[in-house]
């Protein structure tokens, strides 16, 4: 699937032997699309690092309000982590299904990924609602503003990822495993795994360190 042959959008001198190493001309579209999306993901991670920096600076600025130690429910966070980790695995299984061009494996694995992602989002919204109900909303202190911005931004990414996931299921259902659909599946996979990497940083820096210190 990498270095694919006969792409109608490419000039004829770019043959199937193109490796992207500069030897036989331009790389295949799959390599270019994947690499471009990788650059976007890294820029997204750079944006998250700014939110992490803001949180780390403001973590102690509770303005007399509740601290992370009093607020965080690590059991809930543990379940969220489990959901996202297993969904990362099922997302990988879906990419194997796409590799095999198996509708059954792909659609079931994507459905499992969606359910786990939705469960994660539900747990996160439950936590947010509980915090706001206890008067610990984003306007309470600089610490809570930074907390809701950072964790909420990750939640927003998961929400967009779920919409994208449904779009991919519909596109595979309607159009099959075409080359361009396969490229989108590759990019979606990268996006979903990157979300899990950011979550590792979130549960360590925000929840575990917040509860331990």
């Amino acid at each position: 699937m990498s270095a694919t042959a006969a792409d109608p959008h490419h000039p004829s001198h770019i043959g199937p032997a193109s490796t992207g190493s500069g030897r036989d001309g331009q790389a295949s579209k799959r390599i270019i699309a994947g690499y471009g999306f990788w650059i976007f993901l890294l820029s997204d991670i750079v944006m998250f690092s700014a939110f992490f920096a803001a949180y780390a600076v403001l973590a102690g600025a509770t303005a007399g309000g509740p601290t992370g130690r009093q607020l965080f429910d690590l059991k809930n966070v543990g379940w969220e982590t489990a959901c996202l980790l297993v969904s990362s695995f099922t997302c990988g299984v879906a990419s194997i299904g796409a590799m095999l061009k198996s509708f059954r494996i792909f659609q079931w694995a994507m459905a499992a990924t969606f359910l786990l992602g939705a469960l994660f989002l539900g747990l996160e919204l439950k936590e947010f609602a509980g915090l706001v109900a206890h008067g610990a909303g984003p306007q309470r202190s600089a610490f809570l503003s930074a907390f809701f911005t950072l964790v909420g931004c990750h939640g927003l990414h998961v929400t967009l990822g779920l919409l994208w996931l449904l779009t991919m299921m519909a596109q595979v259902w309607a159009k099959g495993f075409r080359e361009d659909i396969q490229r989108r599946i590759l990019c979606f996979n990268l996006f979903w795994h990157a979300l899990d990497i950011i979550w590792v940083a979130v549960f360590t820096v925000v929840y575990l360190l917040g509860a331990a210190l």
Partner: protein
């Protein structure tokens, strides 16, 4: 598969997220995801259990947690995103290295500057006295 036309000794570029283009890709990919799942589960569980069990000397706990988080990110990168050190992955690794550099500059720079500012700034009560 059309990949058969590529000589085996020629390094082929890979997009991030793709395994090598050899035979038995499916089995390799599945094994890779399974190894990743097991390692990430172990590291996550350890991160959550460590503060509870008190196995680690308490002042060293933050360092232990950060080390395990970085290890888990490495596991995710290698086994889920398939970013490896192979010759087919040079572009992806270089982009990652640049991203890590920027992230490090933003985090370390912010913390350093803000800690310095905190240290050098007069306290709120002193400022209010000066305004009288």
């Amino acid at each position: 598969m059309s990949d058969a036309s590529i000589a085996a000794d020629q390094p082929v570029d890979l997009p991030p997220g793709d395994e090598g283009a050899d035979e038995g890709r499916v089995r390799d990919a599945l094994i890779s995801y399974l190894i990743g799942l097991v390692l990430a589960t172990v590291l996550s569980a350890a991160s959550f259990l460590l503060p509870v069990t008190g196995l680690v000397y308490a002042p060293a706990l933050p360092v232990a947690l950060v080390v395990m988080a970085i290890a888990q990110m490495g596991v995710h990168l290698v086994f889920f995103l398939h970013i490896t050190t192979g010759p087919d992955n040079t572009n992806n690794v270089l982009a990652l290295a640049f991203g890590v550099l920027i992230v490090f500059l933003i985090l370390a720079g912010s913390l350093w500057i803000m800690a310095n500012l905190n240290y050098n700034m007069a306290s709120m009560t002193q400022i209010m006295q000066m305004q009288r």
